[in-house]
Point group: C2
Chain length 339, copies 2
């Protein structure tokens, strides 16, 4: 197998604001993995706060010797090797995993949602995230988004939380998910906020408290009238089992968990432990989004809007129609390259 | 999809003795699931002590309406439906699951060990089981088996346990697994036996105590110098998580867990919880054995000798050479029908 890779900066349609940062583009790396005349596509997306850069990804990918593998179907061996080369580098690892899944799916002539046994008609609606902004801008964004999406998501965690929710609620009554991004450190305050948010038509809370907090988070889960999902508290498969009783569910993101193989296992494990599953994303092209969407028919919720936020998508694959994820019938991860 | 099924009695080469019964044949049912001109093969094997019969299986299979499904790749939906029709009937359910995996694998042109990402060269050796017999007969069986297999398994649980082990040890020093079939009710006695068995070159114990026993089994696990595997204590996916800290590993059998889909999940879950995995079987043709063997490269141990014990195998698939499981390169479950 032959691997090539190149940096590809994702240009955002709008300035994107989180509780700790804002930006106009997201660094990324595109990879192509070829075997038997077929090419699989993969991608690493690297929001700066997660520690990877195009340079670290290139350095990681250059260390890999994938030419030692002639059979792409030995995915366990290949991906165990990729994972073993260096610690961390989860987005770079995910780029190889995604390309390998695209390649093997194409060699089988099937999309991964089929190989995993899912029905693509069961793919959930995706939420659409409203970046933090002034109340006036939030109203405008919410109004626009409410015309296209069935579920909105808002990132909270500042002193203006209630004001922002009320701004959104002044223009739409669409169901809301809230990602607090570890923003609430006092569990009593978090519980008060969750109770208030429920009255405002919020149906799910992500990561209300810092990821190091376990006991207070369990305390919160027991009392919370809304399901509470782990985001920063869960990276990889090894994190999942200890979150039972701490969170209602987990948000699985390919760039954090090293890709589709581990994501599928995390989903299975969470289900086995009675936990719910959301499939999430970073800012990504339709390559990684379509890869993640292959899992979505098995998830309770999807937050796969990363490709909708960029102006220079390289791929056509999973799209959103009337709020719902529509998976293509192409094999592998279901994409075609358009640029 | 069209399902046909017929009873097929498995004739044993030798009388097979467990701690509670002996028999000369095992009832079974063969199934064929067809779609797009391709046929997938499946099988239910029904040792009498598990409660299913060819009549209950036929009755179950006749209740199924699989013609409502035109896309065999919607495996989640199809197998959830099959599981929902009646409780129990795990072997009958497994027959449909195996046939569906054979069918979808053939439609993809790949064997399931490939689809799951395994390397078939990593398939383990299989153990070969010596049925309980007189010491003289045990010596003879052990001598024969030791010439063909690298690992022997013996079923204990009577007052003659030590005598039988010594009879085997008088003719071979091959590594031994012991299945106590819930035969030891006193944990102190079980621990004594395990310590003694370790001195005799036994490397693994299956189900030493009754399946209802949890606390005493945890006590035993803490003290046991050998890994202790669950057999009767584990049936399906929902049993696995509570066995962490109670057993070192689990023996997964398709006929008890409803088939390959659930078996794969049980393997993943056990791994995620830090437990080991054995893939086991009933008396089965090479159909169900080859299906189970698709999982074996991901297992620590295999006990897939059920087809070696019958005189009227219907299939050619996974074979044993020098003790090792050799998976065929045929798609699906890797079998061809030979009768």
């Amino acid at each position: 197998m032959k691997l090539v890779h190149y940096p590809y900066e994702l240009i955002l349609r709008d300035v994107f604001t989180l509780s700790h940062s804002s930006r106009t583009s997201t660094p990324g790396v595109q990879v192509e993995l070829s075997c038997e005349g077929i090419t699989g596509y993969g991608e690493a997306s690297m929001p700066p706060y997660l520690g990877e850069t195009p340079a670290t990804a290139a350095s990681f990918l250059n260390r890999l010797n994938l030419e030692q593998f002639s059979d792409p179907f030995r995915m366990e061996e290949i991906l165990d090797y990729v994972d073993s080369v260096l610690p961390g580098n989860t987005a770079a690892k995910a780029s190889v995993d995604i390309a390998l899944h695209d390649l093997t799916g194409k060699l089988q002539g099937r999309a991964w949602h089929q190989i995993w046994g899912f029905d693509r008609d069961q793919a959930p609606d995706t939420s659409f995230t409203l970046g933090i902004d002034s109340p006036e801008k939030m109203r405008q964004k919410a109004l626009e988004a409410a015309s296209k999406y069935t579920v909105l998501k808002v990132k909270l965690g500042s002193e203006h939380d209630r004001e922002l929710i009320l701004a959104i609620r002044s223009v739409t009554d669409k169901p809301l998910m809230v990602d607090a991004n570890q923003g609430w450190t006092d569990p009593e305050y978090a519980l008060d906020m969750i109770c208030w948010l429920k009255e405002q038509g919020v149906f799910l809370i992500e990561q209300p408290m810092p990821r190091q907090v376990i006991d207070a988070q369990s305390w919160l889960l027991e009392r919370s009238p809304l399901p509470v999902f782990a985001d920063e508290s869960v990276q990889r498969l090894s994190d999942v089992a200890r979150l039972k009783g701490v969170f209602s569910g987990i948000n699985i993101k390919l760039m954090k968990c090293t890709g589709m193989r581990e994501a599928f296992r995390m989903m299975q494990l969470a289900r086995s432990l009675g936990m719910m599953v959301m499939v999430g994303c970073m800012t990504e092209t339709s390559c990684a989004i379509s890869a993640a969407s292959q899992l979505s028919p098995g998830a309770d919720y999807a937050d796969l809007d990363g490709n909708l936020l960029i102006a220079n998508d390289l791929f056509k694959g999973t799209v959103v129609q009337g709020g719902k994820l529509i998976l293509s019938d192409l094999p592998g991860i279901g994409v075609e390259k358009i640029l």
